[in-house]
């Protein structure tokens, strides 16, 4: 089978890109117009989750910092929007910039200690953040704001506007709105990661000393990455309030942290599009595993519900074994058999032979004395 070579930025490449993005937009519209309301809530949740997963991806996948506790920012954003909307009468859209800024500020502050701690220690400290979140949200001193253990309700009025050329239910309008917000946030992240910013972040991940020598100031960039990813997670929490009108202390807890980690790894760490696939997995994998558990022989109804967690765990392990780089990396490998996109060679540099772009990095470990 011959592989087809497409030059990056060529007309052909552009056409494929337009077709891809147009196709995604068409799918989103088709979902909004055809799916029943209970499904719509799930699709809306996918949009919100994927933004949170994107935030996780920025710090872990691109930044290489094992910050596992982003559920705390997620829960924080949800609480902030719920409190501002229900108690202070701020409009939903008005709460979003507040949530992003507050998330970034807290992320920046927490990014400062993260400069000294790395690897598993950082993983543990940030996971601790996720563990601490429910306890803090339940504190008696805060219960007037957070509603204590019962959580906070905020039914956000979100009706489709009259200027829409087609009629949709309000659940579908929620989905469209969340998709639009998510699209903007994805575009921002994708562009940033493909520019100077992204190169600096990835350089820091791959070789901090080398990056520092090349003029990337580690402290500034690492804390900024932390702040931006926290802002994404916080925004995702705010957006989630539109899909699910209640936030509880456990919305920012350990299980959500685990959900975020699994979603990110299933989608593919260090990929932008992996966040969407992770969002889909996070929403439907529990439901599917419940279904599969029910289909197991010799299992009663009640055991099936308990076993769904086991099936979920088994699927996780399976993904690690079958698709270690996540779904996106898997698909890219598959695509590379048919189509190869090569970067455009600047006119001034001498022509280079098109090496296989996906060849593995050579093992340098053994060359050391």
């Amino acid at each position: 089978m011959t592989t087809r070579t497409i030059q990056h930025g060529s007309t052909e490449h552009r056409i494929w890109q337009v077709l891809l993005y147009g196709g995604i937009a068409a799918v989103v519209l088709a979902i909004a117009l055809t799916q029943p309301d209970y499904r719509m809530a799930q699709f809306s949740a996918v949009a919100a989750w994927s933004v949170a997963l994107l935030g996780m991806n920025l710090i872990i996948g691109y930044g290489g910092q094992m910050a596992l506790g982003h559920s705390a920012f997620f829960g924080f954003g949800s609480y902030l929007t719920a409190i501002l909307y229900a108690d202070y009468g701020v409009s939903f859209v008005g709460t979003l910039p507040i949530s992003a800024l507050a998330g970034a500020a807290i992320g920046f502050l927490l990014g400062l200690p993260a400069l000294r701690i790395s690897g598993l220690y950082l993983a543990l400290v940030t996971l601790a953040l996720a563990l601490a979140f429910p306890a803090i949200a339940k504190m008696d001193q805060l219960s007037a704001l957070t509603g204590g253990a019962n959580g906070k309700l905020a039914y956000i009025q979100w009706l489709p506007p009259t200027w829409l050329p087609f009629t949709v239910t309000s659940a579908a309008w929620v989905f469209l709105t969340l998709s639009a917000f998510a699209a903007v946030l994805f575009l921002l992240a994708s562009n940033a990661m493909r520019s100077r910013v992204g190169r600096a972040v990835v350089a820091l991940r791959d070789n901090q000393i080398g990056a520092a020598v090349s003029g990337v100031h580690p402290a500034t960039w690492k804390t900024s990455t932390f702040a931006v990813s926290a802002a994404y997670a916080s925004l995702a929490g705010s957006l989630m309030m539109l899909a699910v009108p209640i936030v509880t202390p456990d919305s920012g807890g350990f299980l959500v942290a685990v959900t975020l980690i699994t979603g990110m790894v299933i989608g593919g760490a260090g990929t932008i599009s992996g966040a969407v696939i992770g969002g889909v997995a996070v929403v439907w994998l529990p439901e599917l595993s419940k279904h599969w558990a029910g289909a197991l022989p010799l299992v009663s109804e009640s055991d099936g519900t308990a076993l769904s967690t086991a099936v979920y765990g088994a699927v996780l392990i399976l993904v690690v074994f079958v698709m270690p780089g996540g779904v996106v990396t898997f698909v890219r490998r598959l695509r590379a058999r048919f189509v190869v996109v090569v970067p455009q060679v600047p006119a001034t540099s001498p022509p280079v032979a098109h090496a296989a772009p996906l060849s593995p990095t050579p093992e340098l470990e053994m060359e050391r004395p």
Binding site: L131, I261, T262, A306, P324
Partner: protein, 322 residues
């Protein structure tokens, strides 16, 4: 007895009862008893980490299933505990080694995230299997140490009383024995030498003919055995056993390991003691900190320590060749 009545001042936000000697000693004892269990969990975390560099999130659940097995064998079948507990520990060691070889080792080459995910998956699977087999209701666990209300040394009498339970002393002795045996195994046997060689430098260890893979399996086996022991002791301490027995303990154990340094065995013991003490003393001392915040307090202490020593109190800083 109550010192506070003699004090001319009262400190705002501080629990008055804290100035009572018996009360404080009782809290310290409770803290050190829990701390010993956390230290055992931290030990199993450290033993896995030293050779593989991984955290096993499923460590606590592996202990829980061992503890539930002990319950089934001893309480439901009537086998004496001095048979069932060693049997469960031996079985969990085998299971630990098998899990390392079948699920963890193949993923290891693909980076740290894979192993984290596999152990998280194991955590979910074992937790659910426990719930399905043994049900969600708590049961009364096997008690290897005397645990009647009167089984204790009364050291300071009169309300509030300061007494140490026999079972608490039993937990401390068990921890001491485990640490002693580990020390003997690691420092005085050929097997332990191999383990330490792999921990220090895997490539060189392979070159001199040490079976590296078997040492990794040994690490997981030891950790699983200690985890099961910790679960049995903890269930005795709390007096109730269900599938969520170790959910919090593994976190305290991880915290203790981080505090002491992930690669240090003495660090695990000290870390466990500190975490246990902070957990019991801080909420009792400050009346405005509820007991539900004790975990948060323990974590705050750990973050503070890690900021000063990012490698933990006893951990070795990693030296990286540029």
């Amino acid at each position: 007895m109550n010192l506070l009545q003699t004090l001319p001042w009262a400190v705002p936000g501080v629990n008055d009862a804290f100035f009572d000697l018996s009360y404080v000693l009782q809290l310290v004892t409770t803290g050190l008893a829990n701390g010993a269990v956390y230290a055992l969990m931290a030990l199993s975390v450290v033993i896995v980490y030293r050779t593989t560099g991984h955290m096993n999130f499923a460590q606590g659940e592996m202990g829980t299933i061992g503890c539930l097995l002990v319950f089934s064998i001893s309480v439901e079948r009537g086998v004496p505990y001095w048979i069932s507990i060693p049997a469960a520990i031996a079985l969990s060691m085998v299971v630990g080694a098998v899990l390392q070889r079948t699920l963890v080792q193949p993923v290891e080459r693909r980076g740290g995230m894979g192993v984290v995910l596999v152990t998280l998956g194991l955590f979910l699977i074992i937790n659910a299997v426990d719930a399905v087999i043994w049900g969600a209701d708590p049961v009364t666990p096997v008690t290897p140490f005397p645990s009647e209300a009167g089984d204790r040394f009364i050291i300071l009498d009169g309300p509030p009383q300061f007494a140490i339970r026999y079972s608490t002393i039993g937990i401390w002795i068990t921890l001491a024995v485990v640490v002693g045996l580990l020390w003997l195994l690691l420092q005085r046997t050929r097997l332990g030498l191999g383990y330490r060689a792999v921990a220090a430098n895997p490539e060189s260890a392979l070159l001199v003919g040490i079976p590296k893979d078997r040492m990794l399996m040994l690490g997981w086996a030891l950790a699983a055995g200690i985890g099961t022991l910790a679960a049995v002791l903890f269930s005795q301490k709390t007096g109730s056993l269900d599938f969520n027995l170790m959910a919090a303990v593994i976190l305290y154990g991880l915290a203790a390991a981080a505090l002491g340094g992930f690669d240090s065995i003495p660090g695990a013991v000290v870390g466990g003691a500190v975490v246990g003490l902070v957990e019991s003393l801080v909420p009792a001392f400050f009346s405005f900190i509820g007991s539900e915040l004790s975990l948060v307090m323990a974590l705050v202490v750990i973050v503070a320590v890690l900021l000063v020593r990012p490698q933990g109190i006893f951990g070795k800083a990693k030296v990286v060749r540029v």
